[in-house]
Subunit: 301 residues, 5 copies
């Protein structure tokens, strides 16, 4: 995720980082060249058929609506992903506070909170398709970490460990029934967040939208020079380039935000959020806390 401040007006058109221009430059160029060719043919070779701009504008309104819809849906997914991870942070802290409220012995808290950190890393590991055994090991020991890392579904296993520990504490009279109930609720909340991540990661926006929107965008950009050639003169290629930038650019943004958990410039900073959790848990256990992650080149990972 990019966390730098907005560039000033002067730098605005030079900024490439965070910009979608590099991704869509090919398309912009293709349509600009097409526009130049259409203009040249029409002026110097043979009068091409023209499209009415008003007609195209009806089409443009429809296209704007589709792009707008897809953009809203993708942004909602991105923000929901962030809210879910905010929930993981929040409910891990609630778990730590419930330990403080219901469990007298500090050692008893350690297993529960270590597994909670492992849970967060395991969710991240699943989403980023990466091995998190190393990150987990310092919290729950190498053996346990290897066991969690070995199986698909390490996040669920981590919550199961917490659940088992809660029962054991209750059976040995170190946790009351009230505490058991409170832990049951917090662990359920963590499980809900994990399933929410799974939902976003495995359910893309309906495929058909992409086809509809992308095909329409291409058709629009192909027809555009024929509509502009009559009235816009030498501005035709500039205009086509700008429109291609706007429409393909929005599409590229949408494609990224649609998958909030993919690694990339606009992906959510899951590593940094896991670190936030580690810091909170370390403080709750009176351990030295690791430093928060800082952005590298303006990007928080």
């Amino acid at each position: 995720m990019i966390v730098k401040e907005q560039p000033s007006a002067l730098k605005l058109f030079l900024v490439m980082q965070g910009s979608v221009v590099p991704q869509i430059l090919g398309k912009i160029l293709v349509f600009t060249v097409l526009a130049i060719v259409v203009m040249a043919l029409d002026r110097h070779v043979v009068a091409l058929p023209h499209v009415s701009l008003t007609a195209l504008s009806v089409f443009g309104i429809a296209l704007s609506l589709f792009l707008g819809f897809r953009n809203n849906a993708a942004y909602d997914r991105w923000w929901e992903g962030r809210r879910i991870w905010g929930g993981i942070v929040s409910d891990t802290r609630n778990l730590a506070r419930n330990c403080e409220i219901f469990i007298a012995e500090k050692e008893d808290r350690q297993d529960i909170l270590g597994s909670a950190v492992a849970f967060a890393h395991a969710v991240r590991g699943d989403l980023h398709d990466t091995d998190v055994t190393g990150d987990i090991a310092i919290w729950i020991g190498d053996d346990e970490a290897a066991r969690l890392g070995a199986q698909k579904g390490g996040a669920e296993a981590a919550l199961r460990i917490i659940a088992g520990k809660v029962r054991a504490l209750h059976e040995s009279d170190r946790l009351s029934g009230f505490g058991q109930l409170a832990f049951s609720e917090t662990v359920s909340a963590l499980g809900r967040h994990q399933t929410g991540c799974e939902r976003l990661a495995t359910t893309p926006l309906p495929f058909v939208y992409s086809l509809l929107v992308r095909r329409t965008t291409y058709l629009y950009c192909v027809l555009l020079p024929f509509a502009l050639v009559e009235t816009t003169g030498p501005f035709v290629p500039i205009f086509v380039a700008v429109v291609a930038y706007v429409f393909f650019g929005l599409q590229a943004v949408t494609n990224e935000l649609e998958h909030p958990f993919r690694q990339g410039q606009n992906g959510l900073p899951l590593r940094a959020l896991c670190r936030t959790i580690e810091i909170s848990v370390a403080q709750a256990l009176d351990r030295p806390a690791p430093p928060p992650l800082s952005p590298r080149n303006g990007i928080l990972g």
Copy 2:
């Protein structure tokens, strides 16, 4: 549900799977032919009356708004369906964790979790109008499965079995009052999800919208050639075809997403979600877990 990656620009116009073109090809052709006829008549036979494009564009804006509204509403239903099933997955896992937290004996957990799997399959059976007795039998035995499968409302019956089991465990002092309370809440949550599915499945979007939108789309496409004939020249049929593709295409998408639980290319993958539940429950019971379902030809069932 289609889970493949987006096609590259070159393949974009050749992809037929997941496209709505096959469904609406007839309509596109009819209106394209109409456009050709209107254009031919107007040029070579008799000057037909023309419609002002600006006038039609007012109409087009209204149509875009209607289609946009219906599309939003349909997508919201589809996504709500997915969220509800995410809730079923999540709360079945919570049930498993509550077993871990509150119930000491492994055998006691088995009945509850087996019925939870039966619940998920029964909800799917109701929505897909299919017999799930076979899927249930391995979890709750043939007799019980036949009994659940035989009655309409097997999902409710499955939850009733869980509820009865919870009471029995409490009466024999193997489950505390706190555990009873926690199970009561989780079972209520599962019931809420089932009623949510029922709501989406039995309450379509108001019928009158379909009439209004579809009639308006037809009228618009009939009037369009009379508006374009003056200014758009030989592009008229292409233009009409594209507009028909956009408007009828969006309508076809909307019709599918409106019913998220129907089987089809854009239907939700209920079988795969039931399998996810089976895997989680198997892991909670220390049984060998079945493999997750994979998409066939890019479609997850």
Copy 3:
């Protein structure tokens, strides 16, 4: 509520059931005649002043926005109404399951669940302004039914009966404190749903919107012929008729959906939902369940 499938393209323009055309036919005719008169006067008698179509289209965009807003707000109310009734269905079932979880004796469950059915009917009776004594009598006896039916606020009284019964069961040691707490929550949820129905039924959309939107629609349709007469030729009356159909049609739909609990083609099927509740409660009490209601002429009441 209309539950039939969408008509094919051929039947689309003949369907009258579920269509708003009968309601707004008068208005469509008036404006069509006006358009013919304006056209005739302008051509054959005296040149009337013309309005610029572009000017009118600005106005048309504003009108579309208003209609779109009102339509969204009305649909949200309709869908919220459906969600609330889904909540009534769901929480009655939760009540039945809580009976199964917390109450050992079947007879003790009967009073609670009978009153829950009475609650649903009483809410429906209030919303439809109809007498439900007959429907209630078979569940809670004639005397009690007459007493509930006699007073305004029968729904609240039904919940009060449940609450009293819960206390009595606890006092006679047939229900634990945990059970009391669970029932308290479920009864509160039912109460929230009832208050939600009351809110929708007693709070219409702000009156001023209707005035603003309706006045604007009339003005727009009056000015339209003066704008079209120059450029649209013999299509003027057809065009005006279509625009009147679209704008007045959307308005009529909105008026119906704004009041989701009114009886009518687009009203919610409260009788069918009460029947769903009766079936669930009958199954929970091991009684023979009545059949679900089926649509009559495609309408579910």
Copy 4:
């Protein structure tokens, strides 16, 4: 709040009650006169510079978007206000039912429910900036009422009385710990509603929106005659009047709905809602209930 039915088409343009016309008549007249002056000057004195209508329509789209945004935001506030008060009604009834479920002695219930009515009136008193001592006195006695009325924050004080009473009942063994927990949750819900009212009442929409929207509207209406004068002929003043009616009218509506708790035609009927609460509490206490408030001249206060 206006609760009358919609006027028929004939009466539509005569209705003044509930209309915003009286408020904005001055502005409509000013701009109509301006339009007449511009038209007269342009025709008979000197050719004024003209503005392109297409250019103005770009501007008009932006303006529609701003107005649409502000309208949505204001309506959401209004409806949130209504939902919050629905919550107050609902949770007061829940409080009454919790009394029925957990408290055996009728006298013990009286103090709690009387304070709940006082709470609702006190919230209303704060929002309407009015003295509610008289309304409260019949429920909690003159002394207590004077004490609550005297301090800012009477609503909080009323909830504090309930909380204190709950503790006292528990300490004298007339309320179980479960009951205490249930009351704690219901009182917290009432508190949340009160804070929600406070939030809406003290946080207006960002001031800058008003400036931006209002300035833009004025500029638009000033430029409009220069754009219309060329193409719209004698309709110019009518057109400007209609546009001013639509844009300033929507603005006036928005200003009212933005403050849902202000007294006025579109303000929420807080008195009537308090009465609804009084009726429910009276029924719960087996007292004679006061009659519901009826609208006066179609307005419910």
Copy 5:
């Protein structure tokens, strides 16, 4: 946050406070001068190429959609920030009421509620990046305040103090298990609000939107004079100035609302909200309450 009433029509264009004009005056001037230069060159020196207004209007619609999206997203963030702080106010009061319900001794309440005030200030301190040790000291003593102020994450530490106090009260039998459970829930709610603030503060809107929207706005304003020069005559500079005001103005507003916790004219009044909390807590502890903060020059800090 600006809390003054809306200015009358006469003052509307003179108001500078709360207006974005000062921020964007430079840009407005640049584009106005550009428009004058383009107009002068075109008329008196050399015919410049013209852009079709219709073509630009397609572009304008897309731009309106982007700006509209960004504005909605930013306003939603601002309002969510306000709702979260409403939650902090509300749950601190709930904490005070839970003290009243579950804790008999007044002294025992003091530590909990003092730390709750410290929590609110610490959240504010984090968001405003300011030292709140002084504000906290009067509630929890200088030593404790210095300790909380010294560490990053003072808010979490304050909640941890509450949690520890709750356990201590329970261990010394001054708080029941029910009370423990109720406090656990309220403290969790406070923690959720704090994490919500963190989420808004650390996760800006995706950077790429800013680039896309800002670049598009600049391009639009550069092309605008070439489109207007043909048809709008001497109004060109006025028109360009107004459009620049509208588009850059909305952008400036959006930039401010996107960061609801930054100090500034449209930032949320965190100091005033903390004071509200102090007043409620003081009343709950029977201490003299400080006066609420009043706006200075119409701005509430």
